[in-house]
Amino acid sequence: MVPLSWYLILAAALFCIGVFGALARRNAVGILMGIELMLNAVNINLVAFWRHIGPDQMTGQLFAIFVITVAAAEAAVGLALIIAIYRQRNTVNVEEIDMMKG
């Protein structure tokens, strides 16, 4: 069996990598990817605690699902903001933007 602390250390390492990505990246999308990594680390923790401490109550998994929901909402809004900001800065090149008409 894999002890609980191993999962927690894995999650901690993942979280720290996420922190680094979120704070050190210059690019907004890169920052967002770092945040996603941090959220995933939290999920590993939640599920590891569920498995090791209370597998009968589904609380850990439930929380993980809610975290996934929040992460999806956050990614959707965050990326929309990034696109909007990008468009604001580049409004000059309208012809170029429509170049291939999708």
Binding site: L10, A12, F15, L23, A24, V29, L62, I65
Partner: protein
Amino acid sequence: MQQAIFIILALLTLGAALMTVITRNLLRAALWLVATFFGIAAIFILLRAEFLAVAQILVYVGAISTLIIFAIMLSRGIMDPDQVRFNGQWGVVGGFAALLFVVLAVIVTRVPWPAAAGGAPVGDAPADAIARLGAAFVGPYAIPFEVASVLLVVAMIGAIIIARERE
């Protein structure tokens, strides 16, 4: 056996995560992120949380990664090959992250977790875990459940307003 598999999976996941934050090309970084998500799904399987593993792949790989890749492709400047990866303070941040990890690791190994200190989990994962999840959504967690729906719709409406092209 399980421990060996865990170590391999953990190293692969962490390696992919590291590549995500240091790869210069953002699209490749997004692909490394996808690899990380798969690794985490495998970790969930190891924890007997099969539904969460499949939800992870469905939402993170299927939806969020696609969203990220679309956003990358929609903003061309991001693809610029000779742009700077990190901001000026990346050295400080790296040191901070490493320190944070050491602190967390020490805390995690020192805390006497109930029953799990020896390693064996209490009891086994219930066989009807998925049905229990479903019952919990409409039972004790009814309010978060509805709030999740509201949150999703609000996020969708907000994002549509923000991202739309104005005529």
